[in-house]
């Protein structure tokens, strides 16, 4: 029973969080566009035959202040998240300080067949969902063998 409390259920995910924090700070071999993992906001990308779906997990950001740009097949999400930590002169102590604050910018390279004119972006529950349509010609077509 003792080992259970030593290696709790959250151990691995906690380790992963620490690891990403270390990577973020030490920056061993960053990608040409910065840290690809562990950055803020975290990004998930999915695709369907008709569209590319990007989910940026950016909680606590004013939707109006998020800047989304699409240029030459590169999508940029930028903005700022204010710190909630008390100023040094306040009579308050921050015991845990893990949440990201400050300016952020993340870049996603998109596939070639996207249609830059049909992009929809929505912000809900702290997630920015960007949906980009693919050009019709790029949809896979079945070719009949004669």
């Amino acid at each position: 029973m003792i080992y259970r409390s030593l290696f709790p259920r959250d151990f691995l995910s906690e380790l992963e969080r620490l690891q990403s924090e270390i990577r973020q700070n030490l920056d061993f071999s960053p990608s040409i566009r910065g840290i690809s993992r562990g950055g803020f906001p975290a990004i998930n990308v999915g695709s369907t035959p008709k569209s590319v779906e990007i989910y940026a997990f950016a909680p606590g950001v004013d939707p109006a202040s998020i800047d989304v740009q699409l240029e030459k097949g590169v999508l940029t999400v930028a903005g700022e998240r204010r710190s909630v930590l008390p100023p040094p002169e306040a009579k308050a102590t921050a015991h845990i300080d893990e949440r990201f604050s400050g300016r952020f910018r993340r870049v996603v390279t998109l596939p070639d067949d996207i249609d830059a004119n049909s992009v929809a972006a929505r912000y809900r529950d702290g997630v920015l969902h960007i949906s980009i349509q693919r050009r019709a010609a790029a949809e896979p077509r079945r070719i009949t063998v004669q």
Binding site: S5, P8, R9, D10, L12, S13, E14, R17, R37, G38, P41, A42, I43, N44, V45, G46, S47, T48, P49, S51, E53, Y55, F57, A58, P59, G60, V61, P63, V84, L85, P86, A90, K91, A92, T93, A94, H95, I96, D97, E98, R99, F100, Y123, R124, D125, G126, V127, H129, S131
Partner: protein, 124 residues
């Protein structure tokens, strides 16, 4: 207030979860906790206090179009969970929770008897 691993039912132990990042700030009146839970709708969040353990849980619900296939995922689990042990001077009955834009804000006031008091020094 210190962090703990949950000692809940064994089946919940199996499921891997994301650990949401938090900020915990203490002032004279109590503790304020902010937790990032992006993707969790208002009805998918669960905050509860059991004895001296405060647990935060949330289930992510994204509007995924039909037939979507993941090509890159940094958020790879659909669930958040984290728990903390409250210390005795905090009043767990008066926890106030707000949830906006994926950020949970909890305010846990200190119990009346634990509020700071200035002690007068009598000079003879």
């Amino acid at each position: 207030m210190s962090e703990t691993v949950s000692k809940e039912n064994p089946s919940a132990r199996e499921a891997a979860t994301l650990v949401p990042p938090v900020d915990v700030i203490e002032d004279q009146g109590g503790i304020t906790l902010y937790a990032d839970l992006p993707g969790v709708p208002k009805d998918g969040i669960n905050v509860h206090v059991d004895a001296d353990t405060l647990s935060i849980e949330g289930e992510i619900a994204l509007d995924l179009p039909e037939g979507v296939e993941s090509t890159h995922a940094e958020v790879s689990l659909p669930r958040y969970r984290r728990s903390f042990t409250l210390s005795r001077e905090l009043d767990a009955d008066k926890v106030n929770a707000e949830f906006t834009h994926g950020v949970l804000k909890l305010r846990i006031p200190k119990a009346e008897h634990a509020l700071p008091r200035k002690i007068q020094i009598a000079v003879e």
